[in-house]
């Protein structure tokens, strides 16, 4: 079931360098939230704080709270491994496991949770259908995931993320390595996925944010400058920096 995410006073560092400052933001369930901003503004760092992948980097640390359905994912006893089974992620470059077949790629997550046999086949099929890839790959599930085109690989990665049945789906510039046609497919896919999943998407493509996101947050130099319904943010920005960014004066 789609869940809300509440971010409170989030700060993040890489070693001594602070990347995020006092972020407060409420991500609504079953909606698409877009994160925009120029390169290096902390968008990716922010999204990686939401599934505790930021801390995997050497020297990286975080302070503040992130509440998933009211529970702090940074609480001392919270387990990042269990958390990541509830929050799926799709990366900038399609990264299917090269040594695994299409089937095994999608099955990797559920297998970790002990799903086997017929149930596993069901999950794989369901996830591939959800990711809009089933018709294209149903006859070659045992082929390498790397044999697919870039756009198909990214949908395979989406299917892989959906297979663990997450409550939130994080997408870190999922279309930046794809051609316009594949981008369109993935944007359509996001529209159908948001019924069941809370989606947070980082994009440096403002048109993409305005096309797919229900809410948009604008980041600049590690700070959240403005956050609101997408239509409002793009037509009546409250902050002059937001306005100059969306009108293309920098970035």
């Amino acid at each position: 079931m789609a869940q809300s995410l509440t971010v409170e006073n989030l700060n993040a560092w890489y070693g001594d360098k602070q990347a995020l400052y006092e972020i407060n933001l409420h991500v609504l369930p079953a909606k698409i939230t877009g994160i925009i901003g120029p390169s290096g503004c902390g968008k990716s760092t922010f999204i990686r704080c939401l599934n505790r992948l930021h801390e995997v980097v050497r020297g990286a640390r975080v302070s503040g709270r992130v509440l998933l359905n009211g529970q702090d994912i940074y609480a001392p006893r919270a387990d990042p491994v269990l958390l990541r089974q509830r929050i799926g992620m799709v990366f900038q470059k399609p990264n299917p496991f090269p040594t695994m077949s299409i089937f095994e790629n999608v099955a990797a997550g559920p297998r970790l949770q002990g799903v086997r046999g017929a149930a596993l086949h069901e999950v794989v099929e369901r996830s591939l259908v959800q990711a809009g890839l089933w018709e294209e790959v149903r006859d070659r599930l045992s082929q390498s995931g790397a044999s697919l085109s870039g756009g198909q690989q990214q949908r395979l990665c989406i299917a892989r993320a959906l297979a663990v049945n997450p409550e939130v789906l994080l997408m870190d510039e999922p279309c930046s390595a794809l051609d316009p046609a594949s981008t369109l497919r993935i944007e359509e896919l996001m529209g159908s996925l948001k019924e069941h999943y809370t989606i947070v998407i980082v994009t440096h493509n403002m048109q993409q944010a305005s096309r797919v996101a229900d809410y948009t947050a604008f980041f600049l130099e590690g700070r959240l400058i403005e956050y609101g319904p997408t239509a409002e943010l793009f037509t009546r920005p409250q902050d002059p920096r937001t306005e100059s960014y969306i009108t293309g004066r920098f970035g």
């Binding site: 995997v56 990366f91 496991f97 090269p98 040594t99 970790l112 390498s144 790397a146």
Partner: protein, 279 residues
């Protein structure tokens, strides 16, 4: 001379130099292969693998005990050395940061360069003198010390070549770090690691010096690990420098068997690692 012709001439000159150097490098290699094959072939027969060495002057006989001995001791070395080398490689690639890891990495490099005779003397002092006798066990141990640093470094380097994004993809699915290393990182690097392992084993199979001080040799059929054991490299050494004509011929035969074993290991490695998927 125009600039154009000067450029072309220089190009041909340097290209010719590269080809010549390649020929110089490859020629000895091919001659060794050819020479060993021709000389060794005369000595090879089914008897070589089934018969025991005969005393001087008695024609015929084989090296069954040395063939078996080499397989046993190299197997022992692999059994002892591979887990250590692979685990150490995983540590260095996935966990090893800071001073401790740098020291280990440096020591491993030094270790790789230690002359094998030194390893032989070391095991002689530490194991053979304490056990009171030369033994296959000591031989296997000495060979494992050859294998460990080679495997450690190749494993580390190959694991580092696995793209970081694959580790992230696995972690993001809720896999633990250990699980990620085994199912994604090691599995992606498996082909290279197996090749590295085979090369290290091949290297150990050809070592003579460490065995002279540890397993010594034996004229008898012996599979006991606590007793001296025959091996192909040591037989090649003793037979080749002997004054007897048929012993010298047999040394060539042993050399050919060793060469074919190493070649076979490499072919197996290639076949095994021709995985279905590549990236």
């Amino acid at each position: 001379m125009s600039h154009y012709w000067r450029r072309r001439l220089l190009n041909y000159l340097l290209l010719g130099l590269c080809v010549a150097c390649t020929a110089v490098a490859v020629f000895p290699l091919l001659s060794i292969l050819f020479y060993v094959a021709v000389r060794g072939f005369q000595a090879l027969s089914p008897e070589f693998f089934t018969q025991m060495p005969r005393p001087v002057g008695e024609p015929g006989g084989g090296m069954a005990n040395a063939v078996a001995g080499t397989f046993i001791m190299v197997g022992l070395a692999a059994l002892l050395g591979l887990p250590v080398g692979i685990m150490a490689g995983i540590y260095l690639a996935e966990y090893g940061r800071g001073r401790l890891a740098d020291v280990i990495r440096f020591m491993t490099d030094v270790f790789t360069g230690v002359p094998s005779v030194v390893i032989g003397v070391f095991i002689y002092t530490v194991v053979v003198t304490r056990m009171g006798s030369f033994s296959a066990l000591a031989g296997g141990l000495a060979l494992s010390l050859i294998i460990i640093p080679l495997v450690t470094r190749t494993t580390e380097e190959l694991l580092r070549m696995v793209p970081y994004t694959l580790r992230e993809a696995s972690l993001a699915l809720g896999a633990t770090k250990a699980r990620t290393i085994v199912s994604v990182v090691l599995r992606s690097a498996a082909g290279g690691v197996v090749t590295g392992v085979m090369l290290a084993i091949a290297r150990a199979a050809g070592e003579t010096a460490p065995l002279l001080f540890t397993a010594l040799s034996s004229r008898h059929w012996s599979l006991a690990l606590r007793e001296p054991m025959a091996s192909l490299p040591v037989y090649i050494y003793t037979y080749a420098i002997s004054p007897f004509r048929d012993w010298q011929v047999q040394a060539w035969g042993a050399a050919l068997v060793l060469l074919l074993t190493v070649l076979g290991l490499n072919l197996v490695a290639r076949a095994v690692t021709r995985s279905r998927y590549r990236y």
